[in-house]
Amino acid sequence: MFPVRIALPNAAKRGDIMEVRTLIQHPMETGLRRDQRGRAIPRDIITHFQCEYGGEVVFEADFFPAVAANPFLTFPLRAVESGDVIFTWTHQDGGETVETRTLTVE
């Protein structure tokens, strides 16, 4: 379970440029640290983020071990048509955290 926060207005005017903000709770463990007994703590990171809107990928990002825990992303999005905005975080093991928000465009 990776809790997610997404800030996206429910409704917008056509052509408006909105600021989308996302935050996911994740340790982003680098794989370079050791625990108190000296054992290596295995790497555990999110490797990819993408945002899909109107059937198109409108924003994507690759993550690496140097990204801090609880990655926070902000990006602009132009309101074109009503529909789902789908946010996908891909974990290193291929698992996905997917959140969908519905945007109404007037």
Binding site: P3, R5, A7, R21, L23, Q25, P27, M28, A68, A69, N70, F72
Partner: protein
């Protein structure tokens, strides 16, 4: 010749100092507490960017624990929400730690939540510093955000207050430093890249950038002890509860900032 002699003299001085202080019983009655007129929150010592992060209710990563706490609050058959409304807690965090007359001991917010779980909800107590206990504590504490710390020191709490105060003024660890030497005497000065804060508790549980996670006041105390290379006390122990009490009295009047963002 001087170069060789100087360290020797220094060593003698240090050794002499050790044997002298070890026989002395600490008594800090003559030491003044932090002057209330200069009291400021740790927020003051943050960079503008970190202040902005704390004040942004969306981006503040501590809000992830508030969300989780809100979910736990309404979770299960005997949920917290079956007796309490979140609004009931609009002053709660300002009044802890407090004396629990039923168990005749000092109790902090974490302890109160666990006590509610074991006695009223028939649930096992949550481990100190577990994400669930942190989330519930943060959710309850944040209801009092902006409200000033207002702990009343009852006669039963006097001995805990005194031992917490002694803890604060006692030099400890290989570095032989007391909390007071930085947070009373040197606050506002630079310690390498950081500005030394007054060491107040009003933001906890807080998201620390260094931890990359949210943590309790006791975890912060543990880290302070480790920082001066002293043996830390267990989280939730009576010693740390006593320090928490002294810190709450010391921070009286400062607003609750939970979940604060700290370095």
């Amino acid at each position: 010749m001087m170069a060789v002699r100087a360290p020797l003299i220094f060593m003698l001085f240090v050794l002499g100092g050790c044997s002298d202080t070890s026989t002395k019983t600490p008594d800090f009655a003559d030491r003044p507490d932090l002057d209330p007129s200069v009291r400021v929150s740790g927020f003051t010592f943050l960079t503008e960017e970190t202040q902005a992060l704390q004040q942004d209710d969306f981006a503040n990563p501590g809000q992830l624990w508030v969300d989780r706490g809100a979910a736990l609050f309404g979770d299960g058959e005997a949920a917290c929400s079956s007796c309490h409304e979140p609004d009931d807690f609009s002053h709660t965090a300002t009044q802890y730690p407090q004396w629990n007359s039923e168990h005749e001991r000092l109790i902090n917010l974490e302890g109160q939540i666990n006590q509610c779980r074991t006695t009223r909800q028939d649930q096992p107590a949550l481990a100190y510093e577990s994400d669930d206990l942190l989330a519930l504590t943060t959710f309850v504490a944040t209801q009092a955000r902006g409200d000033d710390i207002n702990v009343s020191l009852t006669p039963e709490m006097q001995s805990a207050y005194q031992s917490g105060r002694d803890y604060f003024f006692t030099r400890r660890g290989q570095l032989n430093l007391a909390c007071s030497q930085c947070h009373d005497d040197q606050w506002g000065m630079q310690l390498r890249g950081d500005t030394i804060s007054q060491g107040h508790s009003n933001g906890f549980p807080a998201y620390r950038l260094q931890w990359e996670t949210l943590g309790s006041l006791h975890r912060r105390l543990e880290e302070c002890d480790l920082g001066v290379r002293a043996e830390p006390r267990p989280l939730g122990s009576d010693e740390y509860l006593a320090v928490e009490l002294y810190l709450a009295i010391r921070a009286q009047g400062l607003p609750i900032e939970t979940p604060a963002v700290r370095r």
